[in-house]
């Protein structure tokens, strides 16, 4: 069983400038699945992902990836282990071209760059058309595609996405979610944070609900979709 667990977070606590953002959480992400973490603003979801990626140093706890302890390791080491983060707000390098943004995604390795770029272009034909443009000139949806493409360039085993639907039009959100499913179908584990709980739960194999730094609920996506308290708090449906 433990072989199937890709990422295992145990008793993780993170403090930020005196504020305890994440309190003693434990999360398991099975290999090849989509796991989502839902919750309102400030619940500590982003902090959790940034801690996994190594840019935030936690107070205590353990994060194991394929059985290896990665807590306290540098972000560049974690990328080489196969974890990548698509940050909130996309954060493409707007002073670099689309192609350069993709290349920088593959910064940690140099094998078959051309092939990987073609692969990303197949997934996002729009990026190929715009390869020579500065990323700052892309629309929000295109930037999100670029951010995902850039993350894929590192050849991840697990991709983490922080609010990929943020600020995008509903039609484009649908595209993005289809892409998430495509990426997952290629065998890449997905750990997804969303405020759009409805969409996230629909595609998730497993889901966690996070509130003010603690996990309050977990279950399969379908189970949480049907859960009364989740409905009330995150899906905008009232109890009768």
């Amino acid at each position: 069983m433990s072989n199937d667990i890709h990422l295992k977070i145990s008793n993780l606590s993170v403090a930020y400038g005196g504020i305890q953002a994440v309190k003693d959480i434990s999360i398991e992400v099975p290999k090849g699945k989509i796991v989502t973490l839902i919750g309102s603003n400030g619940a500590g979801k982003s902090t959790t992902l940034r801690t996994i990626a190594g840019v935030v140093k936690p107070k205590e706890g353990s994060i194991q990836f394929n059985g290896e302890e990665i807590l306290g390791k540098s972000p560049d080491y974690i990328v080489t282990r196969g974890i990548t983060l698509v940050p909130e707000g996309r954060r493409v390098f707007d002073n670099l071209t689309v192609l350069e943004n993709l290349k920088i995604g593959a910064y940690v390795h140099k094998h078959r760059l051309e092939e990987d770029i073609e692969q990303v272009y197949r997934l996002f034909p729009r990026l190929k058309e715009r390869a020579w443009q500065f990323a700052g000139t892309l629309s929000g949806g295109e930037q999100q595609m670029l951010a995902v493409g850039r993350a894929l360039m590192s050849r991840p085993k697990m991709i983490m996405m922080d609010e990929p639907s943020l600020g995008l039009a509903p039609l484009i959100i649908k595209d993005i979610f289809n892409i998430i499913k495509t990426v997952n179908a290629e065998g890449i584990t997905v750990l997804l944070i969303e405020q759009n709980a409805n969409l996230a739960l629909k595609i998730a194999d497993h889901a966690y609900v996070m509130e003010t730094g603690v996990i309050t609920l977990e279950g399969t996506g379908a189970a949480l979709l049907a859960d009364e308290s989740v409905k009330e708090a995150y899906l905008g449906k009232r109890k009768e």
């Binding site: 190594g54 840019v55 560049d76 990548t84 954060r91 920088i104």
Partner: protein
């Protein structure tokens, strides 16, 4: 003023400007990546002058020169490691104050170690050889400086726009955290930036001091400030801007001296700064601000 004299002054101005440009590029690169005005940069330039004084006293120039370049690079990188790196997440004001501290430290260290008496800068005979081109006559260094400056800046721009480390530098300058997420070791990239800045300052110091003949502990202070002005003038963060700013200052100063107003040649630099800050604070090649939600 007859035409040959005019050309002669232009040549002097461009040559002085070339040395300024090399130093200004160091300011602008560090600013581009750390948003820090490295006030110690002028003093690194001064230390490079002393390195040459000591290196050339015991070995020929072709050995002394690479040693000076390497020593200056090491000094620049060490300063970054010791005084700026621990403040990576501190407010920008703290790191700037640290830079001012390093500047005073270097000046006083030099006073303590080498005394405040000016030291004679070694005469690099090859560079001092007088050349005659048409009506112009000047030492080789005067001819070489602008050419070397242009070549170095060209190579630097190529490096930044077309190499992997250059791409990483541009990424780090935009967004530390996301650059880290890409697996870029940002400290390595920042060290590399300081290394290049210091290397250019060392080259600038050889060209500059060969013309001035003496080094003293404060001989980096005023050129340092002027080159900072040059960088602001060109648009801080922009490498071609820093180069153009350096040439403008060099030409402007020389023009004032030629017209007999040498008293005001330093004031000119700072008046130019004030005027620029009033009318075009982003400088000639100022960073484009593309705000997109």
């Amino acid at each position: 003023m007859d035409f040959a004299v005019f050309l002669q002054h232009c040549l002097t101005g461009i040559s002085l400007g070339g040395a300024y440009a090399l130093i200004a590029v160091g300011y602008t690169m560090v600013y581009g990546i750390l948003r820090l005005i490295n006030f110690a940069h002028g003093d690194i330039f001064m230390m490079a002058g002393y390195f040459m004084v000591f290196a050339s006293s015991s070995m020929p120039w072709y050995l002394a020169t690479p040693i000076v370049l390497i020593a200056t690079v090491i000094l620049g990188v060490l300063i970054e490691r010791a005084a700026y790196k621990p403040l990576r997440n501190a407010p920008r004001m703290s790191i700037m104050i640290s830079a001012i501290g390093v500047s005073y430290l270097l000046q006083n260290l030099a006073t303590y170690l080498f005394t405040a008496l000016p030291r004679g800068y070694p005469t690099l005979t090859a560079l001092k050889k007088i050349f005659q081109i048409g009506p112009l006559s000047a030492s080789l260094v005067t001819f070489i400086t602008p050419v070397l400056t242009l070549a170095l800046v060209y190579v630097l721009i190529l490096l930044i726009n077309h190499s992997k480390i250059g791409m990483a530098m541009r990424a780090v300058s935009k967004d530390f955290e996301t650059a880290q997420l890409m697996g870029i070791k940002i400290n390595r990239v920042i060290s590399f930036t300081f290394a290049i800045g210091s290397l250019l300052a060392a080259i600038g110091s050889i060209l500059y001091f060969t013309d001035r003949m003496t080094v003293f502990p404060f001989s980096g202070a005023l050129p340092g400030l002027k080159c900072f002005v040059a960088a602001v003038l060109g648009g801080i963060g922009s490498i071609p801007g820093a180069m153009v700013g350096g040439f403008i200052l060099g030409l402007g100063e020389t023009a004032l001296v030629a017209m007999g107003y040498s008293t005001f040649s330093d004031a000119f630099t700072f008046i130019l700064l004030i005027v620029m800050l009033i009318f075009r604070p982003t400088g000639i090649f100022g960073e484009k601000v593309t705000d997109k939600v």
